[in-house]
Symmetry: D3
Subunit: 333 residues, 6 copies
């Protein structure tokens, strides 16, 4: 980035100061764009969008501070991906497009603003990566992506402890437990375009799983992963994703990770994935599939310890970027 | 539970409020019974009993607050066990029978009260699940169970980093490092009824292991698990347990978990089980064997982070309940 | 309480076990009543009501867990008030009346339920003490009290860093920054019945203070307290409260305390009261005035350290109970 | 700020999103300028500069993350100063001028860069407010200010537990324990221009105090404050500051606060100021004197709890801004 | 210390390394003596003794780790007491005499060993300063001191939230709530030799206060301090102590401090002393009276934050040493 | 140790008190030697040396407190290695040789002192085990070892997330990111004597890996471990180490562990080793190879939770000691 003529020398310096604990806290020390016209001017491959909304959570709150914490982490030792053997940002132009406005206590307005800010990105065929916020934000975010690529043309691989396919929770249709049902019902992402990974615990109830089965949804529980090993399940999930749609949206609830790896989240469920597994899964998907959108949600810093979860969320985005960069390099080669 | 005629409408509501952060903090939002006669009236399958005693610990204290913390967690997203495909409480009637009185600084009195409160439960052929407290509470608790089913008729699968078979520690016969020796010596649970899983580290000394061998005890170290994989060892442990006694008592020291999964405990030892492994092990045992008692001990909230350990303890009980419910369903089928 | 014939022996024991870290977590180990009819049967002086609602906060969330944390603290070394020279519960019959149902993400329903549960208490001329929850709960709670004693007949002494008299926040009329405006507008508690103590910082804006002045509100800033000393200001506040209405409602936002004394809250503002000051103020008011309702709000355990704030909240209620008990004793004398 | 034509609509929105947990983390949600020419274009009254350097600390490190943490706090309920009755930013144009480059492990280079970045500000007669970093940064920062106003023309009121007048520490002339000596020796700020407030504990040794006395330095220990009260000492300190120089630089080490109020610092010393005292002192100085520079140093987030110290540091700057705004308003009036 | 011929060059260096985070963790980097004969050889003025026993606590445990944490803090910026204008260790020879053996779960044995280790010190007319441990350790510690100076010849100034004069707690005569009763009953320290400072809250009950009155005990509650100011009360306490006995033992429970200043303790009670007050009180007593023993108890690191309490405990000892050094200097002068 | 005639009875007791939370905090409760001559007198097999230097870190600081924290942990349940079936200290004489002097802010002086203190140990053919400090300390430490055994005669197995082979970081040749390059360049440990395990993430850049390849370095990334399993990779690493040099130095950066297992470190990188894996690897190497030196670095207690990382570091040394003891026993047998 250091010789990008679109940045003033002072701006370049401030972004780079992330390396020494200072400067502007933007995601990965990338340029911060504020207005849609700047997206036209820059025409990046990927734009980060924050969605600081957490008022639909059913247990511990705090994901409202997720985007800020992930950006504040902005320390970066380097951007060369060891396993992929590439400088991520040599192949992929990434910007930080700021946050959607999520007003206090008004989930509907927040969701509308998220949809419209993500649409500014997706409609330009720039890949939005959304930092939650709670999982309800996937409804507007993935809808905005489907609006561009066509309803039914986008599949979702969804990492989570919970299926998030409830119909309604305490009267709320747009809860963090219902986004996948809404996407299916609206046709934005039909049920048979879904692959879920990491389910465990005691929710949702049996009738919801029946409904999911009827929709053609596919899921891999932790029990299956425990029995077959993660590599085998991941291979299946990648294949299933490729089968199901031309374009892929990845939705990562950090509670798919075991609480030992991601304590800073709202509804932790023991017995989850390791960070090693999840990081590789995301990278592999991004490398093998045409990713057109992604979110990382449910990072609640107040419950985090030593930035474990914030750090994991940051790296999950980096692995996706690495995979996308490698795909672009390989396709160009 | 919501239409149980034994509960007043207000009591039903208060128990259910656990779903929205409120109401009475009982284990899993189950009814709280206080008097033995209520056990007769309700005749549940399982009764939770707290044993808030921690004055025999040899390193960090604090397990006195274990039962309270596990109950205060009482948030519940659901009670449908995904992997077992059943609503736990449709098959199993579970109540919270409160705590044994563990007076300050008087381990002997606490142990006596634990034995007698657990006996109130076990003597009615209700399965007691005891929330510790330090591991010394297994002596009175398992004795009370053996009193009902007959000395020698109950086997113990014991998950722990430490064998807890010392003879005496600093003059203390009823330390958290000695309960298994006491059970063996009294004949309540003979040594050849024991299967231990998770041992590691630097204690007890060689002579204790010799004594254990003489008693016919069986154990599986983390080293063995590391070499053979947990599934293989678990299969052995289940088979050994079935061989050894008609009835099973499960004793879970949360320090069998790796400290990354259970930091909130008194004597953490790196290199332990994952929560995924331990949750499955407990469920499998409960499903395959006639469980007549269980304890989960050494949860020290002051050393916990983000409720990792409290959460794990809560789920360990839920997995046992799930396994017991599945066994009951399958046997009924 | 130990010989109260309305409690079974087992229930008495379980309540008393709070002394040794166990038993039922009710406020101050008081009996837990669940149904309104029990209020008739018991006819206590005071009933504790939880209001676990925090979705109107404008900064850090988490007060939803306030009531549970305050109850879980239930350790009690004693109930003899040293400075008042009385056994609190010898003079005052106090029960825990559980929580109002505050469904996920639906502030309106929660507020309605809070109003109705508090009304069950207040309409029986029992004094409700409400544990928040965020400060929005004062609107329904104080309204329910005014419904009983008559609009205009209840004054409020309000301890807070913030006046909470905004008209509307991000479209929300029932935010935690607006309850006092709502009470004034509805006539439940006219502006000239208000005394505010502890204001500081940078909010609300000048026009709000103008409006407050027009309503006849009285307030004492930390600046005034810093200049005149707390004792002098407290004397004024007590006198003003006595002047303004026959009955008193005390509303305590724990952020009136300095963050050093109450870090576990949503909108901490440095430069506040010490716990010594606030405890005495509450006691003095309760002793000198006819308190008919009280709330303690904005306790957010996720941001607390070593239970500083939870502990302070618990003691604030105890000081109010102590003051009320002394008043009853002195009036009886 | 919302209609400032120099900001694009998108930039305005992103800055304002600090109110709802999002957007750019700049100090107080002020515009972030990166290049010196922007200072000419904007010509603000005050510019915030970060100095993330902490490698000269003699106990706990971590102040390198101070500027980032103070900015990340950027939640703002309002900007109306209650006690001063003014909208701070209506009277004072404030920008965030980013950070000086403080390379890893090279204190000399960091100090040079701090001096030069502060000089960019001060030389334009804009008031720099520097966020540390450890206290060594006061040497270059105050020197840069004195370079503009003339050696000897700037006085310093220095709040601290420690005099920071050592000659050399472990061979280091530019330690966080020596900046005041360096300023005095160079003539930038002669000793008789210094007023120190808050000294306590066991350092520096007697000979350093003798040297300080020879330089004409004035100091007020916590012992004096404890005996005479803070108001009296503050009155003296203000008067002394006015006597000593035409211009004032305020240097605030957060360890002047008691550790209960500012645990997140490197060398905490019990027995310090309350936040109420220090906030008022800073405001009063800024209102009564011509402040030409200020720093707030030694905020070490890794040792902070619940943002107590970060919050205090943020408010210390706000109180200075409030005082400066009031002075400007009053002088204009 | 650096040229003390009794220390080898390597030992001197290792002790001094406390200044740079290393070396041996002894109290204040003083020489660590292990055998009583070394006391004869060194003949110091003061010897630090640890008493890591916490099994008599009635709420949160953990003071067993108090001595270790206070020693591990051993960072020392200096040893010149600013307010007293003296180098503490130029006037006072202080050593660390290690810990008494407090075996697991055996309070009686621990108390016996504490008494005997303190006696090794006191009987040589060296002043023991005991680091607790819970408050029960004052019984054996102060008894050992009275054994030397004569029963009735030693007065105690006791800083605490609680009077600790219960007769028996849950059957325990040697609880942390009973030491003062035991000292009075045995005649070691008659009741009319006691001055208590800091009492507040709800314990002990009225009848205990009656008994205290009968014994001639004097106490100053926080309520009195709040009304009269700490200086006035301290002046009284110093005078009362001088009146009552030739020699003084100071017993400091850190819960005399407000929990904001000392969160790391077992039974925190809001509304206590500031560290500024308590530090000055201890120093003043040590300077004005012939201190022959002291303890600092109830430091529970697991509940501490950012070492607030550990730091305060360390400084409380330093203030006592400072006061004693000044007394010695002044008497010599 | 208890009958070692070189220790006085009191010293023996104080060292053993580590078992009950007290006494001297030395590593593993081993005797603390201070002067080189004592090394001659004792002639131990292994000497622990602390290197509390952390000023070369590029992200979070705090490893300066690593040695102190690891020693303060000194609780020890036992020293019998279950899997190796031996009492560690029956076969291996281990002492604590204190710390190297690492003056504030002067890395060069610290490095020189580390080299010289390690040389005191290594030159006597005693195995030094160095507790860091940041990773820069490996340069002087391993050089001191190579000085004894000959340049090129010592191989290094290096566990780390990062290769630490940068040439220069911000002008610093002796950074914590450069030690391996310095060792290779000086010839102390040629590149083809290195085996690295655990590399992952985004640093160093491609050109550094090219340089590493040219030097003949061998490395195993987490990606390889994820694909092949740790056992297979460990077998290779052991074989490679045996091939490469007669003597082995083990360098363990705790960030080779996953942050879930070692949060308390400066540059955490998700996706790392489990403690179970790393403990076994270290033991296996120590048993199969002639270990002549070892370090455990980058333990930063301020970022640790519940002592997870400190505990792991302590056990890593114990596993090395266990492996060395077993090798000695087996060779003797």
């Amino acid at each position: 980035m250091s010789d990008d003529p679109r940045l003033s020398p002072g701006m370049r310096e401030q972004l780079e100061l992330g390396y020494v604990f200072g400067g502007l806290s933007t995601f990965g020390q990338r340029p911060f764009l504020t207005d849609p016209e700047q997206l036209d001017e820059w025409s990046p491959d990927v734009a980060i969008v924050g969605a600081p909304l957490d008022i639909t959570t059913t247990n511990r709150a705090g994901a409202r501070f997720g985007p800020r914490a992930i950006r504040a982490l902005a320390y970066e030792a380097g951007t060369y991906h060891i396993d992929l053997d590439l400088e991520i940002f040599d192949h992929l132009d990434v910007v930080d497009f700021g946050d959607a406005h999520c007003p206090h206590g008004d989930a509907a307005a927040g969701h509308a603003n998220i949809r419209s800010r993500v649409a500014e990105v997706a409609s330009r065929r720039i890949v939005p990566i959304i930092l939650g916020g709670d999982h309800s934000i996937t409804w507007p975010a993935a809808t905005a992506v489907a609006d561009t690529y066509g309803y039914g043309n986008v599949g979702i691989v969804h990492f989570d402890a919970h299926a998030d396919t409830a119909d309604i929770i305490d009267g709320n249709l747009a809860s963090h437990g219902t986004p996948m049902r809404r996407l299916i019902e609206s046709g934005a992402v039909p049920g048979d375009r879904f692959v879920q990974v990491g389910l465990r615990g005691y929710w949702p109830p049996a009738e919801t799983f029946s409904w999911m089965r009827e929709q053609g949804m596919v899921w891999h529980t932790m029990q299956e992963i425990w029995e077959r090993g993660f590599q085998a399940v991941l291979d299946d999930a990648v294949a299933e994703a490729l089968d199901r749609a031309d374009h892929l949206y990845i939705s990562v609830d950090v509670d798919s990770l075991d609480p030992a790896h991601a304590p800073g989240t709202g509804t932790p469920e023991p017995g989850g994935l390791t960070s090693a597994d999840l990081l590789r899964a995301v990278r592999e998907l991004a490398r093998r599939h045409d990713v057109v959108g992604m979110d990382v949600v449910e990072v609640a810093p107040a419950y985090d310890v030593s930035d474990l979860t914030v750090n994991a969320a940051h790296r999950l985005v980096f692995e996706a970027l690495g995979g996308m960069a490698a795909r672009k390099r390989d396709n160009a080669g």
